[in-house]
């Protein structure tokens, strides 16, 4: 198999790699905010349960969580995942895991806001919701952007974990080629792919940071 043939074959999996990436971001970013708000809730039960879930999701490997979501239904209800449900399982596991990380980032950002911002808005008559959406959140987004960038870069690399479920994204295809051709080359190609994707991520995120640099 030639190098170009390998690249062409692995490129076919890039769509799936991107699907994992974008769908995970789509669900985990809002879910993370919801989880952060639950974590900061005045309701002690809600906040402790949420805190425990975050702790488990961050304290165990994503690979185990993937396996749990994919094979858990079999051990619990004797239900075997259909092939077309693999992506769903991956997105559920990834979204929960990343939501846990994002939740802690949101929480750090929200808790770092000076209380004076809330008080100024309160005296002017802003409701809690208006204060959060208009005054707090926009500033939080700016504060947490560097930490979010780190997580997004990790997510690009983590998409390779889908090979655990033999979901044929770019890395799994590469691994298959490596086995059948007894070649190390597919891993080099995969490395280049991930590196290029992360260059793009870094570029996009630095653009976002620039867009928010009009104030301090």
């Amino acid at each position: 198999m030639t190098l170009t043939a390998m690249i062409a074959k692995m490129s076919e999996g890039l769509g799936r790699t991107c699907a994992i990436f974008f769908l995970t971001l789509l669900f985990s970013l809002p879910l993370g905010l919801l989880v952060a708000l639950m974590r900061m809730s005045k309701n002690k039960v809600l906040s402790s349960v949420t805190s425990a879930c975050i702790s488990v999701l961050r304290g165990t490997p994503l690979m185990l969580q993937l396996i749990a979501v994919a094979y858990g239904p079999f051990y619990l209800f004797g239900y075997t995942l259909l092939v077309k449900e693999k992506l769903l399982a991956i997105i559920i596991a990834f979204s929960l895991n990343y939501a846990a990380y994002f939740a802690e980032i949101y929480r750090g950002g929200i808790e770092s806001m000076p209380v004076g911002q809330y008080e100024a808005a309160h005296v002017l008559g802003y409701s809690k919701h208006q204060t959060f959406m208009r005054i707090i959140m926009p500033q939080v987004v700016k504060r947490i952007l560097p930490s979010v960038t780190n997580e997004v870069i990790t997510l690009v690399k983590d998409t390779s974990l889908a090979f655990t479920l033999a979901y044929m994204e770019m890395f799994s295809i590469g691994k298959q080629i490596a086995n059948s051709q007894s070649s190390f080359l597919p891993f080099v190609i995969a490395g280049v792919f991930y590196y290029v994707m992360n260059m793009i991520v870094a570029f996009v995120m630095s653009r976002c940071e620039k867009a928010l640099s009009y104030y301090r």
């Binding site: 004076g116 100024a120 005296v123 002017l124 008559g125 802003y126 208009r134 500033q139």
Partner: protein, 251 residues
């Protein structure tokens, strides 16, 4: 008609009494200054009056409307909707400005009148620009807070409060976060407001200013009003030992 009436206000923090039986009435057009050592409860009193802090006992009224009433020594707050209405009566200027850093000067001033009071955009912008002109900041409406000096930021925050057309303004040490050479510009703005008969309650450590600008001065210490009266009397001829001691530090 009095604008603000606080009666027998009590406030504790962790069992420690920070305000004990404070009563204060402010009439329309009156300027009241509150002086006193740090930790005496001046900010807490202002925060109770502006509904940022809940008082434990006592009553609070604006324009005769009850925000807090006393029931057997316990403070009972009015409904959410009533408090929202009452909040439009006053503005508060903070020691450290608390401008919204992600908003331009103009948006800092115009958002609340449009969003909260649902006032017409053209009218609000006109009001805001008039206020900025009055504050000597006509050319800075597109600036962001970080681009302004402390004195300019404080003037924007005064404009932000005034844009809501409050019946009265509270100031909590409006010059304490400023370099000494910038305090003058803020004191001048407040003097101008006094000349226009704006009703104000000002916590300050600027004794000469308090004496010149106010109609009434309160000296607080340890959560009580130790002495109050006409500014000349309190600041030039205090009668209480604690007041004399406190003022001697300023001469």
């Amino acid at each position: 008609m009095n604008i603000l009436k606080i009666a027998h206000c009590r406030k504790q923090f962790d069992g420690k009494e920070v305000l004990s039986d404070i009563s204060l009435t402010v009439d329309e057009g009156q300027v009241v200054s509150i002086i006193g050592p740090s930790g005496s409860g001046k900010s807490t009193l202002l925060r109770c009056a502006t509904l940022l802090e809940t008082m434990d006992g006592g009553a609070l009224r604006y324009l005769g409307k009850s925000a807090v009433r006393d029931e057997n020594g316990r403070a009972v707050y009015a409904s959410h909707a009533e408090l929202k209405e009452i909040r439009t009566c006053f503005g508060l200027v903070f020691q450290n400005f608390n401008l919204f850093p992600h908003y331009s000067v103009l948006k800092n001033i115009t958002e609340a009148p449009m969003l909260i009071q649902k006032r017409n955009k053209a009218e609000v912008y006109e009001t805001a620009r008039d206020l900025l002109k009055k504050m000597g900041l006509a050319d800075r409406e597109d600036a962001y807070p970080y681009q302004l000096s402390g004195g300019q930021q404080q003037r924007v925050s005064i404009a932000r409060a005034l844009a809501m057309k409050p019946k009265m303004l509270f100031f909590d040490e409006p010059t304490s976060a400023l370099d000494p050479e910038l305090t003058g510009e803020i004191l001048k703005v407040i003097r101008d407001l006094a000349a226009e008969h704006m009703t104000m309650v000002i916590v300050t450590h600027e004794m000469a200013f308090a004496r010149d600008v106010s109609d009434h001065v309160l000296f607080m210490d340890g959560g009580v009003i130790v002495e109050q009266g006409n500014p000349e009397d309190i600041i030039n001829n205090p009668s209480q030992e604690r007041t004399i001691q406190f003022l001697s530090r300023f001469n």
